[in-house]
Amino acid sequence: MTTVSNDDLFAYALRLGDDSLILGQRLGEWCAKSPEMELDIALMNTALDVLGRARGFLTYAGQVEGNGRDEDALAFLRDVEAFGNVLLVEQPNGNFADTIARQFLFDAFDLPFMEALAASADETLSAIAAKAVKETAYHLRFSREWTIRLGDGTEESHARMQAAVNEMWPYVHELFEMDAVEERLCAAGVAVDRAALRDRFERTVADTLAEATLTRPETSWRPVGGRHGRHTEQFGHLLAEMQWMQRAYPGCTW
C-alpha cells in the first residue's frame, strides 16, 4: 500500500468540495426565478444536495490540512487562484436550457465518479460519496429528462437546448483530466481513475442526446485550468457575492 501524502489528500478533498460548492452557489441563483414553482423546488433540492457534500469535503480538507481552517474559512477566505473547481460548474446559469445542459453533463460524469469514489480506500471520502450516489442518481434523472423534454419539445426549445449543449460541451474534457496529485492518490486506491469513466459518460450522453433529437457537438477547443486556479472572468464575481459577508465583517460568528 502506497502512503498517501496529506498535501495530496488536502488538494483532492478541496477540489471535490469546490466542484460541489460552486455548482450549489450557481443553482441557488435560480431561487424564485425558474419557469415553474416545482422547478424552483427541484433546483433548490439539487443545490442543497451539492452544498451538503461541499461541506463534507471542505471540512475534511481542513482537517487533513491541520492548520485550523474549517469549511467556512475554505469557502469564504480563499481567492480565485486557490479554487480548484472545474470550469464547467462556474459557467453562468444562462437560460433554463443552459443550466440543464451544465447539470446534465456534470451529472452524467458525477454518477459513475461518485460510485467509484464510494470504493475509495479513504473512509471519509468513501462515506461522502456513498451518500452522494443516491442523490446524484436523482439529479441525473432530472437533468436527463429535461434535456430530452427540451430537445424533443418545440422548435424553439430544441434550438435552445442544442445551443446550450454546444456551449457547455467544451468544458466536459476537464472533468477527465488527471494531474500528478490524482495519479498518486489513484495508485494508492484513494482517488478515482477519471479516464476509466469516459465510456460510461459517453454512453449516457449518446443515449440521452439521441432521445432528445440533439447532436453531439464536435469541438477542438478544450479549455482547462480550473484545477490549478485559472478560472473564467465571471468566477471573481461569483466569489465577490458568495464571500462578501466574511470579507466585510472579518472574524465574526454568524
Binding site: G28, A32, E38, G153, W254
Partner: protein, 320 residues
C-alpha cells in the same frame, strides 16, 4: 337554486349547524357561494404570500455568511415554495385553478401579505424575518388550524410545524448577532427598527376597520380577531427582544398589569394602506420578478407540453 325557493335554503342552515358544532366543511359538501369565494380569496392570498416571500429571503442565498446558514436558508425558501404549492392545491379543492390564481397575482388583482414588499438590506433581516415574520405567521396560522374548511385546516397543521422551525432558525441568527461584535448588534437593532411595525401590520387592519371579519368569524374561517392576534404577537415578542438585548422601536410600549398585556402605540396605518395599494418599497419589483419568471419560462412549459403530446402520440401509434 335559492331564488327558486320561497324560504331560506335549508342547506344553509345545515351548513351553519356543522360550522357551529365545530365540524369541518369538506370539498364536496354544499357551501354558500360567498363562503367559497372568501376561502378562495384567503387561501390564494396565503399561497401568493409564500411564493412572493421567497424573493426577499432568496435575495440572501448567494451571500449567506456561512455554509450552515446558506443550507438552512435554501431549505427554508424551498419549504416556502412547498407551502405555496400545498395552499394552491387547497384552493383548487374549491374549484379555483392555479393558473388563474397566479394570473390574478401577476395582474395585480390578488393580494399577498404586505410584509414582503419590504426589502432585505442586511443579513440581520434574514434573522428578523424568521423571528418576527414567521412568528406573526405562526400566530395567524395556529388559529387557522381550527378553521372550518377541512383542507385549509389540515394544510395549516403541517405548515405550522415547518414555520416554527423557521422561526427558531431566525431567532438563532439574531442571538449570534446580539452576542457578537458591536457592529453585528447594531445590524440587528437596525433591522428590528425597520421590521417591527410592518410585522404588526401582518395581522391586518384594526377590528373597527376590518370589513370582512364579522362574516368570516361567523363562518369560523377566522377564529380570532385581528387585534386579538396582534396583541398575542406583541406579548410574545417583547420578552424575546429583551433576551436579545434589543429595543422595540415603540416609545408607548409598556406592560399593563390591569389588562395582563402590553400596551403599544398606534400602528402606522397610512403606511399600511400605501403598501396595500401597491406603493411599498418593493411592490413593483416583486411583481416584475414573478412576471419575468412566468414569461421567461413560457417556452419551457410549452416544450414540456409539446414533448408530452409527442410521447402520447408515439405510445398510441405503437399500441395500434
Amino acid at each position: 337554486m335559492k331564488d327558486a325557493l320561497s324560504g331560506p335554503d335549508p342547506r344553509e342552515a345545515a351548513f351553519q349547524a356543522t360550522v357551529d358544532s365545530e365540524g369541518k366543511i369538506e370539498p364536496k359538501d354544499w357551501m354558500p357561494e360567498a363562503y367559497r369565494k372568501t376561502l378562495i380569496r384567503q387561501i390564494s392570498q396565503h399561497a401568493h404570500s409564500e411564493i412572493i416571500g421567497m424573493q426577499p429571503e432568496g435575495n440572501w442565498i448567494g451571500r449567506a455568511p456561512t455554509l450552515r446558514r446558506k443550507v438552512a436558508l435554501v431549505a427554508k425558501v424551498q419549504d416556502e415554495a412547498g407551502h405555496g404549492l400545498y395552499l394552491y392545491s387547497a384552493a383548487e379543492t374549491l374549484g379555483a385553478s392555479r393558473d388563474d390564481m397566479v394570473d390574478a397575482l401577476i395582474d395585480g388583482r390578488a393580494k399577498y401579505s404586505t410584509i414582503f414588499n419590504y426589502p432585505t438590506l442586511t443579513w440581520a433581516d434574514i434573522g428578523t424575518i424568521g423571528w418576527l415574520v414567521d412568528g406573526a405567521a405562526i400566530i395567524n396560522q395556529v388559529a387557522l388550524c381550527r378553521t372550518s374548511y377541512g383542507p385549509y385546516a389540515r394544510a395549516m397543521v403541517r405548515i405550522c410545524k415547518e414555520e416554527s422551525f423557521h422561526q427558531r432558525q431566525g431567532y438563532e441568527i439574531l442571538v449570534d448577532l446580539c452576542q457578537g461584535t458591536a457592529e453585528q448588534k447594531r445590524m440587528a437593532q437596525e433591522s428590528l427598527n425597520r421590521w417591527w411595525w410592518p410585522a404588526l401590520m401582518m395581522f391586518g387592519p384594526s377590528d373597527d376597520n376590518s370589513p370582512n371579519s364579522a362574516q368570516s368569524m361567523a363562518w369560523k374561517i377566522k377564529r380570532l380577531s385581528n387585534d386579538e392576534l396582534r396583541q398575542r404577537f406583541v406579548d410574545q415578542s417583547v420578552p424575546q427582544a429583551e433576551y436579545l438585548g434589543l429595543t422595540i422601536p415603540d416609545p408607548d410600549l409598556k406592560w399593563n398589569a390591569e389588562r395582563g398585556h402590553y400596551d403599544f402605540g398606534e400602528v402606522p396605518w397610512d403606511e399600511f394602506m400605501e403598501v396595500l395599494k401597491g406603493n411599498g418599497p418593493c411592490n413593483r419589483q416583486r411583481m416584475e420578478a414573478r412576471r419575468k419568471a412566468r414569461d421567461d419560462g413560457a417556452w419551457v412549459r410549452e416544450a414540456a407540453l409539446a414533448h408530452a403530446a409527442k410521447r402520447a402520440a408515439r405510445a398510441e401509434k405503437s399500441a395500434a
